[in-house]
């Protein structure tokens, strides 16, 4: 990543975080302009305001210093785009925003936070506040051109942010498992196209755009190696596949996850992968330290 502060090329000086901010802001502005996706500006103001304020207060309280608010901005914007509670309710955005930021300070392992903040807060709200909450579904319309445009733009940005491999790994894995489910549901080869179309459908929708570009790629909550990230993306798709199959089969304890299988898959797989990765890295560092200390012969 070219982020030399002295570089005359402004684009080259942008960090991955800047690119994400630019992308999500563009999505927010275009989405509101074209489809009124926010559902009322109070939602945006509250989510952004509470996220930033919470970040400010907690960073001072816990770290004793102010941290940049870009991350809080992304969390607030993502929350506004993804959370769609009952009409007229603002408190889910207050609680969701606070949970997002708090999760970074509360749910930690070896000094790193484990969950993507927005993923964490939305999944928790879907579980504890189920009677009044829903997530983004088709508010972005079903127009292919819009989705393709967002995909193209998103891919450019994640490519620039060097996390394209994560997005592609997840998308490819999703398609693979969609084909598997399509095959499982098809009566014969003739009907496979229909069942596959149904299973691949979500990948072309708006929620998955946000998921592919912002959540599954979130650098602070993904493992350190490129191979590891690709593997984790595959595991997320696998977990999602298992949730979907379970929901199809009527497994009752999986039903709360049915509205957002991808989000819940990441909610469960991401932190586990992070813990394993952190422990593995610590173990390796420990071994490396021992070998450095060991007497040479």
């Amino acid at each position: 990543m070219q982020n030399d502060a002295k570089s005359p090329n402004i684009f080259a000086r942008l960090t991955p975080k800047h690119l994400v901010v630019i992308l999500i802001t563009t999505i927010l502005v275009v989405g509101e302009w074209q489809y009124h996706v926010i559902g009322g500006y109070p939602r945006l103001v509250v989510a952004l305001g509470v996220c930033m304020l919470t970040e400010l207060v907690l960073s001072m309280f816990v770290l004793g210093r102010r941290v940049p608010l870009l991350s809080a901005y992304v969390s607030g914007t993502s929350l506004t785009l993804l959370l769609k509670p009952e009409a007229g309710l603002i408190w889910p955005f207050v609680v969701g925003a606070m949970l997002s930021i708090l999760s970074k300070y509360v749910l930690r392992w070896r000094g790193r936070h484990l969950w993507n903040p927005t993923n964490c807060s939305i999944c928790l709200l879907l579980l504890v506040a189920a009677p009044v909450t829903a997530i983004l579904s088709h508010e972005w319309s079903n127009q292919l051109a819009t989705n393709l445009l967002l995909w193209a733009y998103g891919l450019v940005v994640v490519s620039r942010a060097k996390v394209l491999h994560v997005t592609l790994a997840y998308a490819a894995s999703f398609a693979l498992f969609a084909a598997l489910r399509g095959w499982m549901h098809a009566e014969d080869a003739r009907t496979f196209a229909s069942t596959f179309n149904a299973e691949i459908g979500p990948l072309t929708g708006p929620m998955y755009q946000l998921f592919c570009f912002f959540m599954v790629t979130d650098p602070p909550t993904t493992v350190s190696t490129k191979r590891g990230r690709i593997f984790v993306a595959f595991l997320v798709a696998l977990a999602e596949h298992l949730i979907r199959v379970g929901v199809e089969d009527g497994v009752s304890w999986l039903m709360p996850f049915a509205p957002a299988p991808a989000l819940f898959a990441l909610f469960f797989v991401g932190p586990v992968a992070m813990v394993v990765s952190l422990e593995w890295n610590a173990h390796r560092a420990k071994l490396a330290g021992r070998s450095r200390l060991a007497p040479t012969t």
């Binding site: 559902g39 009409a87 007229g88 300070y105 506040a129 189920a130 009044v132 508010e139 072309t204 199809e248």
Partner: protein, 593 residues
């Protein structure tokens, strides 16, 4: 360490707080008492009728609940002119008969559809019913019947003879100039050009090129969940008198191809001309203002202009119905549009839009709490159920109640979030089998709390406990005693009559008879001044979801003295009744200009 502990406590506390708030709101603690009580009496009153879905092309059979999820409808009118409200109720299955339940004035109903010749109208491949409307279309003093259909709609002239107690209708469809074929999902009559004849708005759902009994392609569904414009065309037919109509859709500017489900007609902007408010499934609501499109005779120079900038497009939704009422007792109408709310999946919320008094025309959405969240809501109706002087609201809901352990929402979510080309192909949809979809939802009876646009659901306490999949609902005083009963048509379910057991109370009802205006006074704005209240109601012929409600206006008065009633007729004539007698229905004839 203590800091982290504090944050953990805060984190847990927030989760608990969210749980508390959501379950307090979500469960909508049922009211323990109700100022009135409903008793379901359909069987006792002779109202035995079952709606059944149509049999369509076999390729649509796996998702028939989606394709034919509507069709249960009711139209209330006085078929035989005896002053007692009768009921026309439809089914959608080919070969089965619609019902014409004539009110005997003693609390009972008799199905006289066969005698009247308006029962056997459902034929596979020709047309099955989706709704009906009563209106005096030929200005001969009796109520003619229009049955709108998927296929060829039908028009019946009323040839009944009250003196001989015969009830007979003649099918005049072939000479009426109706649309030859459309999949009509809603309709209303309105006199858009003020010529005294009622004109007809028809809302299309599936494209009119689609014959649902012999489809040429399975790509017949919507291609967008919130912005679809590939539905059936809307039509507007001008009444030329003599039970003949002319299609003037293009001339008047009504030819939208959204998936129209609801329509209401009223002079919402107060300029003296009837406007149209349209609710579209998979799309935004539309307000069509009645405007001059050329100088000269209004019969050829009035039209409709879609109004932008009102905020109706700010959130495209799944508009199911349009209902007009006055909830604030300030004399300004409210437009209630139902939508879908399903926790976890889709919380669209209903809209309750108040016409802003004074200044430029504007609508303010004040839906909140119980008015916003009514499940998968369909029809609605306003009426003063407890005669306290404030209009209450009933809303029926639920899509499909089958196996309660198998829910179709997950299946629907797969394609609903995907690209439109996948969505519009019925072949891609997962078969419904025995799955439910927002099923087992109880009808909401929302009592007006008299301030701040707040309503409270008292349905359970009031005795409304059925869990059928309601579509059409109408409040009507079938016993002419002042208490509004509730009639509900359920999809693939029975017709229900909830009798209001309220005793006493102060009220007044008016039956309008137009002279310069249309004979039914459709479109008249009736404003009652009682105490400090000013309540307005509009006479409609078609609103809610596939419903024609009581054609009379009915005001509960509470304990307030009734000062006067002002009637603004569609012709523009304003008539004032000073201190009229209460607790009775009164016929009001439009004065000469």
């Amino acid at each position: 360490m203590w800091r982290h502990f504090l944050l953990v406590v805060l984190f847990g506390g927030l989760l608990g707080y969210a749980w508390f708030l959501s379950h307090r709101r979500g469960s909508a603690q049922p009211a323990q008492s109700s100022p009135f009580h409903f008793r379901e009496v359909s069987a006792d009153r002779g109202l035995v009728f079952q709606h059944r879905a149509p049999d369509l092309d076999s390729r649509l059979a796996p998702i028939l609940p989606q394709i034919a999820g509507t069709g249960a409808a009711i139209a209330i009118g006085d078929a035989n002119g005896d002053g007692w409200m009768d009921i026309y109720v439809v089914t959608s299955r080919g070969g089965e008969s619609n019902g014409l339940f004539v009110n005997d004035g003693k609390g009972g109903f008799v199905d006289r559809s066969a005698e009247a010749g308006v029962g056997a109208v459902n034929e596979n491949g020709r047309g099955v019913s989706h709704g009906a409307l009563w209106a005096d279309l030929d200005r001969d003093g009796d109520q003619d019947l229009f049955v709108y259909m998927w296929g060829q709609s039908r028009l019946f002239r009323n040839d009944s003879d009250a003196a001989k107690d015969t009830i007979r209708f003649t099918d005049v469809t072939t000479t009426a100039g109706l649309v030859p074929w459309m999949n009509c999902a809603t309709a209303c009559f309105t006199d858009f050009d003020r010529d005294g004849d009622l004109d007809l708005f028809l809302g299309g759902y599936y494209r009119e090129s689609v014959n649902l009994w012999a489809i040429e392609t399975t790509r017949i569904l919507h291609n967008d969940q919130e912005f679809a414009e590939n539905g059936g065309r809307n039509f507007f037919l001008r009444n030329d008198g003599g039970l003949t109509f002319t299609d003037v859709s293009d001339e008047v500017g009504l030819g939208s191809t959204r998936w129209t489900y609801g329509v209401g007609a009223a002079d919402l902007d107060g300029d003296g001309w009837q406007d149209l408010y349209v609710a579209n499934d998979y799309g935004e609501e539309e307000f069509y203002r009645n405007v001059p499109i050329a100088p000269g005779d209004p019969a050829t120079t009035r039209g409709f202009e879609l109004q932008k900038g009102l905020g109706l497009d700010a959130k495209a939704k799944s508009g199911m119905s349009v209902t007009l009422g006055d909830i604030t007792n300030k004399g300004n109408l409210a437009v209630y549009v139902t939508n879908i709310s399903q926790p976890g999946w889709l919380m669209q919320g209903n809209n309750l839009r108040l016409v802003r008094p004074g200044g430029a025309f504007a609508l303010d959405n004040v839906a909140d709490g119980d008015t916003a969240n009514c499940g998968w809501a369909w029809g609605a109706d306003f009426g003063d159920l407890d005669l306290d002087g404030w209009q209450d609201l009933v809303v029926v809901n639920g899509f499909r109640s089958k196996n309660p352990k198998r829910e179709y929402w997950y299946q629907m979510s797969k394609l609903a979030t995907g690209t439109g080309s996948l969505l519009e192909d019925a072949a891609n949809w997962t078969p419904f089998e025995d799955m439910s979809l927002s099923g087992y939802q109880r009808t909401r009876v929302l009592i007006n709390r008299k301030r701040g646009y707040r309503f409270r659901d008292i349905g359970e306490a009031a005795g409304v406990t059925d869990l059928y999949d309601g579509r059409a609902v109408a409040l009507c005083d079938f016993r002419n005693e002042g208490a509004l009963d509730m009639l509900v048509a359920n999809q693939e379910g029975p017709l229900l009559l909830y009798e209001n057991e309220l005793k006493g109370g102060r009220w007044i009802g008016l039956t309008l008879v137009g002279r310069s205006s249309n004979p039914d006074g459709v479109g008249a704005l009736v404003t009652a001044h009682f105490g400090t209240s000013v309540q307005s109601q509009v006479v409609t012929a078609g609103q809610g979801f596939c419903t024609q409600t009581d054609p009379r206006v009915h005001f509960g008065l509470g304990d307030e003295p009734l000062h006067s009633i002002q009637i603004t007729w569609p012709s523009g004539i304003v008539q004032t009744l000073t201190s009229p007698a209460i607790n009775a229905y009164r016929k009001v004839v439009e004065p000469a200009p």
